[in-house]
Subunit: 145 residues, 2 copies
């Protein structure tokens, strides 16, 4: 089960977060999805319906439509899969008040995904928010100058 | 080995980072320690000697001497142990130019530790740096007002 959940998570990241194929979400999620811990995420602490999760993906990807997660390491037990990742994307829409610049943004992070009967039920995540904030600030100052 | 490394890491976090017992470091480290990825850490990307690592712990703990890591989850394979954690400590010395306030600071993060023959050889880490920066800013404004 642990290995199978790892393969499921790889496909989930690729289908949903990298390619933005919202129709595949039903195959990966159980009835609900809990954002157990994700500082700075607008949905931190919430339990979402499948439709709510779809809206989260749609809204998160909108300003960075070519975003992609590169999984760097993966560990698992029967109920969880933990990944570390590098993320990149082109800044094409407003993010937290910062106007798009067309520049590349990068970020790193780690996420523990929770599984039940082969379906994803939520996550616990840390991302380097200060790193991306510094890039947004620096790009905004650059485009003003 | 995987289980044994988990127990070793628990003792390492408690002895070295929570209690600041620098004499125990020799028992946990191999010849060197590589900070493979740790955005914002002054030692990010460096390979330290045991003495260099001791200095890193000494300097990191100095402004927050009662700091402690609460391990929330742990996964491992033969060569790595990944933990997620909540951290707290009292701000007693200067941190990145912020004067001490005596207030509690909290942070969350995730760390992958690398092992070789039962010894720790380095880590890959993400911490919520923006969260702690916001607390330092808010406390500084509070003490000015």
């Amino acid at each position: 089960m642990s290995e199978e959940n790892q393969r499921t998570l790889e496909r989930f990241i690729d289908d949903v977060w990298n390619r933005g194929d919202l129709d595949t979400i039903d195959a990966y999620l159980s009835g609900s999805y809990t954002v157990a811990h994700d500082p700075g995420d607008p949905w931190d602490g919430q339990t979402l319906s499948v439709e709510g999760f779809r809206e989260r993906v749609r809204a998160s990807r909108a300003p960075i439509p070519d975003q992609s997660f590169d999984i760097r390491s993966m560990l698992s037990d029967e109920k969880t899969v933990c990944i570390t990742w590098l993320w990149r994307g082109t800044h094409r829409g407003e993010i937290a008040g910062f106007a798009p610049t067309g520049r590349e943004l990068t970020m790193s992070g780690a996420t523990v995904y929770y599984f039940e009967d082969g379906k994803i039920t939520g996550h616990w995540q840390i991302a380097d928010r200060l790193g991306i904030y510094q890039q947004l600030m620096s790009n905004a100052q650059g485009s003003d100058g």
